[in-house]
Amino acid sequence: MAGHGSSETVDNKVVGGKFLTFFMADEEYGIEILKVHDIIGMMQITPVPRTPSFVKGVINLRGKIIPVIDLRTKFKMEATVRDRQTCIVVVDLGKLQMGVIIDKVSEVLDIAAKDVEPTPDFGITLDTGFILGMGKLNERVVILLDISRVLTGEEIEALHKMDTNPEAGKQAA
């Protein structure tokens, strides 16, 4: 298994492979390692006006401006004081890159497909569309995120709509 970092994919859902795990409060989450572009320490984030609250702003990643979202706000978790362990995981989502603020990076784990259980159904109280599955490792449970779906289709669409709206308005100019 070592050295081959690609994930085994079934029905577009990744069920096993290497994951970068991190903590949010005391829950452990995982992102497919292939989607992780960079892990950087907290840096100055410039707020962008009129964006959803989970969009913290933009950062300068070596000359490239990328948006940063706060996973705590997104998951409606309580905000905490950012400390030295708070960091930004830069993920590649197809053609766009995005920074995700997380509490603490943990490790890179190899999770076999057999150790991944489907997401339990929480009913309407919790939308689990962005969860790939639950990885079980001894006593630990790692929530495997489908990071490209953390922002729901609608949200991405809404973000994009901001782009197209000016056109509609221009007609009357």
Partner: protein, 678 residues
């Protein structure tokens, strides 16, 4: 074998059938090739032998046949031996190396583009041997490579196109009118075929486009000279190419063709050829990355230079090195920015071609004058500008310029005139398209606008407002939709494309005298001149282009409407006042306008005053997008990375106005008291 196929072909074409020396040399070459195992040489050897022996009936024809053989030659390594002579069968196509193919595609595209430019130059000035030869060579090289790759159809077409060019070179025909049309169409078809190849993924080769056999037939007919002699009488000069006296050619061209962009045009093209030598193709992505990195270098450099340790250091060497580093970085930045700039020339060439085609299609004689092809502009913008130009020109040809009789009746020259000018003026690029047609019909436009519900039936409009209507989507006053225009799409595209690159369209028109479109576009998309201002502890960049005034208001100059809408009275105008901190939901801002700074900004004809706190300075910044994830944010057009490495939002004045006036329909809901400039 150190002579390549091109040289060999040139030698064959240049050979004098009467000179035994020439023929012997050729024969030797072919014999060497034959010994080296090249296929297809036997026939050439035989032909040359018969020529040398004086047995050939028509030496010219025989030599031509030899030239054709050259095009079909195959080195011993390529193709398979079962198919001597016939060229590579398409079934061999799996042998095509994608890399070689893609090189062929880019190369031939370049060649064919040159064909177009050169043909237009030749058409304008038939004595321009250099352009004629260049066009010939371009077809020839395309043919050579195509034949090497076994692209039989491209080879055949290029070959026939080349043959026709050759006749012009020999002075048998004048490359103008129908001949030039034919050659241009052949070049177009080749382009099309090559474009299809660009998408080739293996397997069967793309089929020849529709009309391919007809095109070949037309070319062949033209080659044999039996038809299409109506535009230009053949110049009786059947002898060797070098013997054609240059001066005799132009006389044979019909006046309508020769009066084209003649002097100015061809001179420009000549200059162009001299300048377009060694270039390297680089993907824009890499270029952008380079520019990003240079930007970062500038920032890091600034950080080092400002570092207290460096500032207070006693080491003279270090100080001078840091300074040197700064200089180099700045120069590097200038250089990297200039890499994106390209001259308008290619666009103008395309436009010239378009005008020519439209002129034929519409039956209106046009005189196209272009100026300022060397004006440079950001490469990304050139592409965006071509579409608007096409629409503007179609519009001018179809609606603006009258048919010849009508023009003559009005005392204008029969030939319509289109003038395209590019120049730099105060930090922007100006593109001007001027026609001397009938001008815009103010009443017709207004009537149509009222019919479409765009204009208030009772309101009076200024000329400027009326001209604005033609930029509305779907707006057309044309009674009938023609091949060229009338669907009402064009002007909308013009405005949208130009605005998307932060440019402006202006229109001036005089009935009976013509219309002038003026596109004002920023020099580059990448840099704007901005004013740095602060609001509630946040810093923003406001494009200086939009700023009219900045002032701290007197209490008496402020009024409100219905207790809410705030207004500033400035030089007897009432200007709506918007608080940036409210629009952007910022806390901790100064709320008393008399303690704040009001900046009067304008976009198109709308003005408003924005309330900020302080002006921190003015500087040029490199615009970057906010990243794909955020797309566009209303009120913000992008972001810039400043010298300290921090990011600032660049304000979009138009978006802010829209925001303030509420929603996407903002402008129609604009309160009545919102001023107009005039």
């Amino acid at each position: 074998m150190d002579m390549n196929l091109d040289q060999l072909a040139a030698a064959v074409i240049g050979a004098d059938p009467g000179s035994t020396d020439d023929l012997r040399k050729l024969l030797e070459t072919f014999q060497t090739l034959q010994q080296a195992g090249w296929r297809g040489t036997e026939k050439a050897v035989a032909l040359l032998q018969s020529l040398l022996d004086g047995k050939a009936e028509d030496p010219d024809q025989a030599l031509k046949a030899v030239a054709e053989i050259v095009a079909g030659l195959h080195p011993p390594s390529s193709g398979n031996a079962n198919q001597p002579d016939a060229g590579t069968d398409p079934a061999d196509s799996e042998l095509l190396d994608p890399e070689i193919l893609s090189e062929f595609v880019t190369e031939s595209r370049e060649h064919l583009q040159a064909v177009e430019a050169n043909l237009l130059a030749v058409e304008a000035d038939a004595s321009d041997k250099e352009s004629l030869n260049a066009a010939f060579r371009a077809f020839h090289s395309t043919k050579g490579t195509a034949s090497f790759l076994g692209l039989e159809e491209i080879k055949t077409l290029a070959h026939h196109a080349e043959q026709l060019m050759d006749r012009a070179r020999k002075g048998e025909i004048v490359m103008a009118g129908d001949y030039a049309d034919l050659e241009l169409q052949a070049a177009d078809m080749l382009c099309e075929m090559i474009a299809a190849l660009a998408e080739y993924q293996g397997g069967a080769l793309p089929a020849a486009p529709a009309g391919f056999p007809q095109m070949l037939a037309r070319l062949e007919r033209a080659e044999s000279g039996t038809v299409q002699e109506k535009v230009s009488a053949p110049v009786a000069q059947p002898s060797a190419p070098s013997a054609v006296p240059a001066a005799s050619a132009p006389a044979a061209v019909s006046p309508a063709e020769s009066a084209g962009p003649a002097a100015a045009g061809s001179e420009e093209t000549k200059k162009a050829k001299a300048g377009s030598d060694l270039t390297v193709r680089v993907s824009t992505q890499r270029l952008d990355h380079l520019i990003d990195m240079v930007g970062e270098l500038m920032i890091t450099n600034a950080m080092i230079a400002q570092n207290p340790c460096v500032l207070s250091n006693q080491d003279h060497m270090l100080s001078s090195n840091v300074m040197q580093l700064g200089k180099i970085a700045r120069e590097l930045q200038d250089l990297s920015m200039s890499l994106r700039m390209v001259p308008f020339r290619t666009t103008f060439q395309k436009v010239e071609r378009l005008v020519r085609d439209l002129s034929h299609k519409s039956g209106k004689h046009l005189r196209f004058i272009s100026e300022g092809e060397d004006t440079e502009i950001d490469r990304n913008m050139v592409e965006l500008l071509y579409d608007p130009l096409v629409h503007m020109i179609r519009n001018a040809v179809d609606h603006g310029l009258e048919p010849a009789q009508e023009r003559l009746a009005q005392g204008k020259p029969a030939e319509g005139q289109l003038r395209l000018r590019a120049y730099q003026a105060s930090g922007s690029i100006v593109l001007e398209l001027q026609d001397d047609g009938r001008g815009l019909n103010r009443e017709k436009i207004l009537a149509k606008a009222r019919e479409k519900g765009l204009a208030d039936p009772n309101q009076e409009y200024s000329d400027r407002d009326i001209y604005r209507f033609i930029f509305e989507p779907g707006f057309s006053t044309a009674e009938k939709v023609t091949d060229i225009s009338g669907r009402g799409v064009g002007m909308d595209v013009v405005r949208r494309n130009v605005e998307s690159i932060r440019g402006r369209v202006e229109l001036a028109s005089e009935p009976g005298r013509g219309t002038t479109f003026t596109l004002k576009i920023p020099l580059t998309l990448a840099i704007i001149d901005g004013m740095l201002l602060s609001v509630a502890g946040q810093e923003y960049i406001l494009p200086t282009l939009n700023v009219k005034h900045a002032l701290r208001p007197e209490p008496t100059s402020l009024t409100t409407v219905a207790g809410r809408g705030e207004m500033l009275r400035f030089r007897n105008q009432l200007i709506p006042l918007f608080r940036l901190h409210r629009l952007f939901d910022l806390e901790g801002a100064v709320t008393d306008p008399t303690q704040a700074l009001l900046i009067i900004v304008e976009h198109e004809t709308d003005q408003c005053a924005l309330m900020a706190e302080r002006l921190l300075g003015q500087q040029h910044v490199i615009i970057k997008s906010l990243g794909e994830g955020l797309g566009g944010v209303e009120g913000v057009s992008g972001a810039a990375i400043l010298g300290d490495g921090g990011i600032r939002m660049i304000l979009d004045v138009e978006g802010i106005m829209r925001l303030a006036w509420g929603g996407p329909q903002g402008h129609s809901r604009r309160p009545a008291w919102a001023n107009r400039q005039n």
